[in-house]
Symmetry: C2
Subunit: 207 residues, 2 copies
């Protein structure tokens, strides 16, 4: 019986470890595709078009918006970021799970369009640990760190809009928990519409 | 950090194996309480008041409805069945999960009142297996079995209102899947309100 894939949206505070978590999940889960965002920002060193992002011009991005070819998009610090619709829908219909790592604004847009999307919010175990992680990266100024903490405060209001809150204390445990969540999503009725339809058809014969 | 318990509502076709599943889950999960329903039907042989049901009179049941002491109630074949509110709320606030096995009508009432309740629909892997299970019980007439199949057909319309569809092919696998689902429920934001509140408080200090 064909099962539809689950659309899994990951957001969380900067410093929560989302990127590492997503990388592990993509590597360790069969039948799961990573959605690649489209952006108008310039590639950083080492970034490859079609791997980290699809890098496009402002005109190309705005054409995609016009054609309704994005399931969500947002503007951060003067650059567009968005999720191409075609790839996500193709993968889901093939029964593959799709995972996306995006900001809260985009995640909530997706929930509106894909009611069955599963929103997971990743957080460190405490605010202090969040700050320590940002500090220990050693790449950001104290001003940037303070801004991230401020932003985390604003973002924490949206946690309740998410389906799951995943506390990233130990990465291995967090990966296992995330795999459990993915397993749970497969039991959503929306992933099993074909089963239910067939079951109902068969029940009809017995009526 | 105190975590609120999850309210888990199990429904499913007659013959799906809900009763056995619930018994296993109650025996094998720590920190989980079985909610006991109240009914006006007479106890069957071997049934104990306060174990299978709280057996009450029609007057007592109607007084409970009036006092808003039930989180759901319904009338089947001339008898009332309902879920006492006090016990459920006490257990959830103590951080215990509560599991209830009830009919669809009652399950949907609960979802309206407890938005965070998790509704699980249990089904055999096929309509044919459902019928075989009912037949192999050897306790029901063919007429009763046909009525159950007809009712299953009507009930199948409500599957999509549930949060999870659990296919009971092999009981051991089904029990494991259910345990995974319970683990997933613990990551719902509603179970972790205290964590989020504390986190936000702490973030405030860094703002």
């Amino acid at each position: 019986m064909k099962r539809k894939g689950a659309l899994i949206v990951i957001s969380g505070f900067s410093g929560a470890g989302k990127g590492t978590l997503v990388k592990r999940i993509v590597n360790e889960c069969d039948n799961l595709s990573l959605s690649i965002s489209m952006t108008t920002r310039s590639p950083r060193e080492g970034e490859v078009n079609g791997r980290e992002y699809f890098f496009v011009t402002k005109e190309e991005f705005e054409a995609a918006i016009k054609e309704d070819a994005l399931i969500e998009h947002a503007n951060y610090v003067g650059n567009y970021y968005g999720t191409p619709k075609k790839y996500v829908e193709e993968q889901l219909n093939e029964g593959k799970d799709v995972i996306l790592e995006i900001e809260i604004q985009g995640a909530l847009q997706i929930k509106e369009k894909f009611n069955d999307a599963v929103l997971v919010f990743v957080t460190p175990p405490s605010a202090e640990i969040l700050r320590n992680r940002l500090v220990s990266r050693g790449t950001e100024t104290i001003e940037v760190i303070n801004n991230r903490m401020k932003r985390a405060y604003e973002e924490s209001d949206f946690i309740e809009k998410y389906d799951y809150l995943l506390i990233n204390d130990d990465l291995d445990i967090c990966v296992d928990r995330m795999k459990n969540l993915i397993d749970a999503f497969h039991h959503a009725p929306s992933c099993n519409e074909e089963f239910t339809k067939q079951f109902k058809e068969d029940l009809k014969a017995f009526k």
